[in-house]
Each structure stands twice: as C-alpha cells, then as structure tokens.
C-alpha cells in the first residue's frame, strides 16, 4: 500500500519541480555568434517580405562581392523573437546584426547589448537622410542604436463599395467620420460601420494626438503619461463614443486585436477601420473578391488635416558581440540605403527609412499607397522612446483602458486616469 502511495507523491513532486524550473531555463540553445571567420550572422524577422529567401540570396551575393565575407541569415518568428533576443543576450550568443522592432531598440540598448552607430552613420553621410520618427525611436540616451530600415503607418482604410452604396465620401474631419458611420449603419444594419477594437493600442493614439493630447512626455528623467489630459480624453471619448454611443462598432470588437479587424474587413463586414499600410496585400490574400474594393485616406484631423499615427517598423541593430563592427555596418548600410532598401520596401509593402527613397514613393498615385505615404511623411509619430515602453505594452495598459470603456465597465475619465497612472509608474521603472 505505502509503496503504491508514494508513487503519486513522487510524480507530483516531479511535476512541481518541472513547473518551477521552466522559469529558469528559457529557450536555451543560442546560435554561434560571430566566429570571426568572415561570416556575418544576421537575424531577420519572418513574414515581412514574402520573397525574403530570394531577396537575401541576392543580398548575400552582393555582400560577398563587396566585402568577401559570407552572410548567414536566420529568420526568426516575431512571436518568439523577443524571448530569443533576451536568451541570447543572457548567453552572449547574440547575432552580429539583427532586425529589431522599433520599441525593442531602446530596451536592448539600455541593457548594454547594442553598439552605438552614430560614427559609422556619419561616415556613410546619411545622417540627415533618415526618417525622423524612426531615428527618434532608435535613439537612446542621445545615441543612435537602431538604423532606420523600414516602417509602416496606419491610416483609415474604407470599403469603397459600402461607401458608394451608402452615398458617403471618405471623411476629412471627425464630424464627417461620425456622419459617414451613421450613414453606413443605416444602409448596412448588420455590418460594422467603423471597427473600434479594444485590444489594439496603435489604433487609439491617433485620436489622442489628433485632439492635441500626448501619450507620455519626458521632462528631465521623468516620464509622465498624458492619457488623462483633457485633450487626450477628448480624443478617446470620440473614438470609443463611436462604439458606446453611436453603436457603429460591434460587441465582438471589444476584444478584437488588429488581426481580427483585418479578418472582418477582408470578409467585407467592416465599413472603415484604422489599418496598416502593410495590410492591403493581406486583405486581398484573405479574400480575392476584395481586390479593388477598398481604399485609404490619412486619419482625419479633428477639424481637417491629419491625425498623427505611429510609425511601426524595424531598425537594423548591431550587437556588442559583433567582432568585426565595420563588416557589420557594411551590411547595415547595404540593407538600409539605396537599391536594396528600396527593393525591400517594394516587395514588403513597407516604406524605406531613407527620406530620399521616399520621395519616389510619394509620387505614386496608387489609392493604397499614396494616402499611406502622405500619412508616413506628414503625419508620423512615435510612441514614447523609453526602454520601459515594452513593459507598458506587456502590461496591456492602453488595451485595458479601451476594453473597460468599450465593455461599459468604466467611463473615459476613470479609465484614462487609471491608465495614465499605471503607464507613468511603469515608464519610470519604479514599479
């Protein structure tokens, strides 16, 4: 009897031990970093460019011709990437160069894992030719750690068929947007006039900025979230009011992420939504019938003009473990400026981080390129470039605010005050 009884205990203790140890050993197997044998190890995020393999074959050839070194590119999933960076930083097995999401760059720089690029960028003579929003996001403590590579921007995407049938024009002010939503709801009672997702922070900030508010401001060393300023609250009130007062959104949207918005828009169920410049391809992929049935406009300003929108994208960063820093920068320069930067932008649907390349894109007349490009250049903004901003995102501060407003659990004043307090605490790292 007692022997039989001991087995479950042993099994239980074993299971407990496993539970506890998972905390200690994440991921593990790092890759061999710079071997110093003329190989450059690079991590690139998967899924940005559908033809990434061919693209990097070409880059490898060109890189080998120019420097004599071989290029070893590894593709990393966005979802795993942050954990893999952290594990590799811990194990000293970081690659020489890697694509880092714009909000990660200050975080890794703060950890001492990245090498500053200012001297080399100056040497390459491109300092003044880089997109400002991306430089701002890649700067930590006065030094540039992330070389602007590519980025996208969110604008207002709308279903042209639904708009025509409801007899409305794309909005240019907030009042027009509300009128358009009302008209769409009248014509299509079973569809969603405007999607107001609860779990998509980047669709909220344009309205905050558009009303003259700020997400957070830095004074000296101290961040203060401004989400509860009267201006910010006005913007949040307008955006969430479309759902809570107008009923132009849907109950499901309360917990939607941007991917859910995309699915519903692609299914033809949504009149308008804040969506990224990289989504048109995905919409048509998901539903070929949508081809040519949607267009974009910059996010309207309150009384005309444009509401700023987040430039979301990637830097190329050099890690401190890179043995040959000049070789590493040669690769960064090749990728982020000139021919390859432009090609990457064209293939992936993102905008390059070099201003002189953008000028050509701006001349485009494509209804799914021009409005985004306009927003990118004239209405781009950055989330607070604090190393702790990733922690704010992990805590889902803004989404929590949105969801509690949309679900009717809190009013804008209460929810935004709670969010601002939490964001300030986390940004200053004093939690």
């Amino acid at each position: 009897m007692t022997r039989a009884m001991r087995r479950p205990i042993a099994a239980a203790i074993g299971a407990l031990a496993v539970a506890a140890t998972t905390a200690a050993c994440g991921g593990g197997s790092g890759d061999d970093a710079s071997e110093g044998d003329g190989t450059l190890n690079v991590w690139i995020m998967q899924g940005t460019n559908p033809d990434a393999d061919d693209f990097f074959d070409e880059v490898s050839t060109a890189f080998e011709e120019e420097t004599g070194a071989t290029l070893d590119v590894e593709f990393v999933e966005w979802a795993d990437a942050h954990d893999r960076f952290v594990t590799s930083i811990a194990g000293g097995t970081t690659p020489d160069v890697a694509e880092t999401g714009t909000t990660w760059t200050p975080e890794f720089a703060d950890a001492g894992a990245l090498a500053p690029l200012d001297e080399q960028v100056e040497g390459a003579g491109v300092t003044d030719d880089l997109v400002e929003g991306l430089v701002e996001a890649g700067t930590y403590d006065g030094q540039l750690y992330g070389m602007p590579w590519y980025a996208g921007v969110r604008s207002l995407v709308y279903n042209t068929e639904m708009f025509e049938q409801a007899g409305v024009e794309p909005p240019t002010t907030w009042a027009e947007l509300e009128d358009a939503a009302a008209a769409l709801k009248e014509e299509f009672p079973d569809k969603i006039a405007v999607a107001v997702p609860g779990d998509a922070e980047f669709t909220v900030y344009p309205w905050v900025w558009g009303a003259g508010g700020e997400v957070a401001t830095l004074e000296g060393d101290t961040w203060t979230s401004q989400l509860d300023s009267p201006e910010s609250q006005e913007g949040i009130e307008f955006w969430t009011g479309l759902a809570t007062e107008g009923g132009y959104s849907s109950a499901g949207a309360t917990t939607w992420r941007e991917t859910d918005v995309l699915d519903s828009f692609a299914a033809g169920d949504v009149g308008m939504a804040v969506m990224g410049s990289w989504t048109p391809g995905a919409i048509v992929d998901a539903n070929p019938d949508m081809d040519g049935k949607f267009a974009a406009v910059p996010i309207p300003g309150k009384d005309g003009g444009m509401s700023p929108s987040v430039l979301g994208g990637s830097h190329l960063s050099m890690f401190e473990t890179a043995e040959d820093k000049d070789l590493a920068f040669a690769f960064i320069e090749m990728m982020t400026t000139g021919e390859f930067a432009q090609k990457w932008g064209e293939q992936s649907g993102y905008f390059p981080g070099q201003v002189s390349l953008l000028d050509e894109t701006l001349e485009s007349t494509d209804p799914l390129v021009a409005p985004f490009a306009e927003q990118f250049v004239d209405g781009g903004a950055s989330v607070p470039a604090a190393p702790t901003y990733g922690a704010v995102q992990a805590k889902a501060t803004t989404s929590t605010m949105m969801q509690s407003i949309l679900a009717g659990d809190a009013d804008v004043a209460t929810a935004s005050a709670a969010a601002a307090e939490e964001m300030t605490t986390i940004l200053n790292g004093s939690e």
Partner: protein, 310 residues
Amino acid sequence: MTQQLTAAPPRIGRARAAFVRPWLLLAPALLVLAVLLLWPLVRVFLFSLQDYGLREITTGEPNWTGVDNYAEILSTPELWTVVLPNTVGFAVLAVAGTVAFGTGVAVLLASLGTFWRTVTSSAIMAAWAMPAVTGTYVWVWIFDADRGVFNDVLMGLGLLDDPTNWFTDRWTFYAIVLLNVIHHGFPFVAVTVLAGLLGVPKEMLEAAEMDGAGSFRRFFSIIVPQLRQVFAVVIILSTIWDFKVFAQVYLMPGGAGSNRSVLNLGVWSYVESFGQNRYGFGSAIAVLLTLLLLVITAVYVRTVLAEEER
C-alpha cells in the same frame, strides 16, 4: 581466535557494501535529477531574491534585494481580489468537473463491448491529443461574438436579441475556459480510472449484487474505495495542471492582460515578470506557486493516507 579475526573484516565490508550499493546504483539517476531539477530550482530561488532584469543578465552581476519580491507579491491587492480567487476557484471547479466527467466516461467505457470501447476511446483520445492552443481557438471560435455558432444559435432561438461578447465578463469567460479545460483533461482521467475499474474483482461485485446492493451502492461502496489510489493520482495531477492553466486563458480574447478581471496566476506572473523583464519577480511567483502546490499535495496525500489507516 584466528578464525574470528579473519572473519570479522569481510563482515564489515559486506555491511558497508550493503549500504553503499543501492546509493551507487541510484547515483546516476540522482545526479541527473540534481542537474536537471535541483540546480534550476536552486537558481530560481536565488533569482527570486534579486531584482533581476535584462541589465543583470548582460552584466552578470547579482542585484540582491532580499525578500522585496515576495513582499511586493503579497502586498499586491490584485493578487488577493482577482488573481488568487480566479486561480483557486477555477482549479476547484475544473478538477471536480474533470474527475467527475472522466469517471463517468470510464464507467461508460467499462460497460461497453470491445468494439465500441475501442471506437469511444479513440474518440476521446482525439480530444486529449489536440494541442491546448488549437483547442482554445476552437472554443474561441464557437463563442465568438459576431461569427460564433453559440450566439447564432441563441439568436436563432430568440433567446438573445443582440450579439453578446462572452469574453468581457469574468464569469462567462471562465465558463468557457472551464469547458475547454474539462474537454481537454477528461480523457486522461477516463483512461486512468478505466484501468482501475477493470481491476476491481468481479467476485466482490457479484457478491454485493447477491446481497441486494443496487448499481449506485455497488459503485460508491465497492468501486470507489477500491480506486482510492487511482483517484489520488488523477486529482493531484489535475490540481497541478489546473492551477497552472496558462495558454487556455492567455489566448482567449482579452485574456492576455487587457481584461484585468480574468487574470489568473499563470497569466499574471507572465505579464508582470517576463513581459516586463522582471525575472526575479517571476521567480518569486514560481517559488510561491511551488510551495502552494506542495502544501495542497501534502495535505491531500495525508488525508488519503489517514483514511487508509482507519
């Protein structure tokens, strides 16, 4: 005399060998356990006494803060009002549901013929084999507010006027998680209990039937006591699993932290520690969770043992 002298040393040697040999034989296994389990456990404990973040990882320098992490955890109001009630309440319901339903299925399986038993057990194996992530997405899809089957049926029947988002409310959210976890967890219970059921001596059941015991009486008075150890195993394991539920909550709409009223221990610790690179804080939570589960397990095993002795 000489005989005694020569005889003595081998006896000591034999005694020592009898003492050393089992440990020698166990040594490889113990060594592996120590390296794979004990050392990480110790490390987790050491991390839990530090403010350990990305900077400490890169510099390799410790940053001791004593029991600050533990103090912070225990003084977080959210832990007591939301996280623990959700975790414990859910675990109790999920364990009860999984064991009850699994036992029911096991009884059903035991009464089936070979062919139907094979068919049914293959079917429940499919539920077991389904990865938690896939299963969760299926349940999310069923209860989706705009396109979900559940809302469609309710609205078709006229029970609901407008689509409802079941994921925003704490109770309906966890009702869905409960369905998901029971659905995923009952096959293990069913299979384990079935093995025990088949081992119950037929003679005892027949004798009870002769004495006039009905089927319920036979089940609760003969089968259940016989299966006490089997139940001990499934209950302890289910408790551990259901306490640590993560993916089934994290992947639900709003479950990743944006709906604070549905946070459980797994998601809360992930959001607070790994999401914010506060590995020391996360380690402290892991240590507390381990202790909590050890206590639950110990108490439960003791009660079972006490009953056994009575």
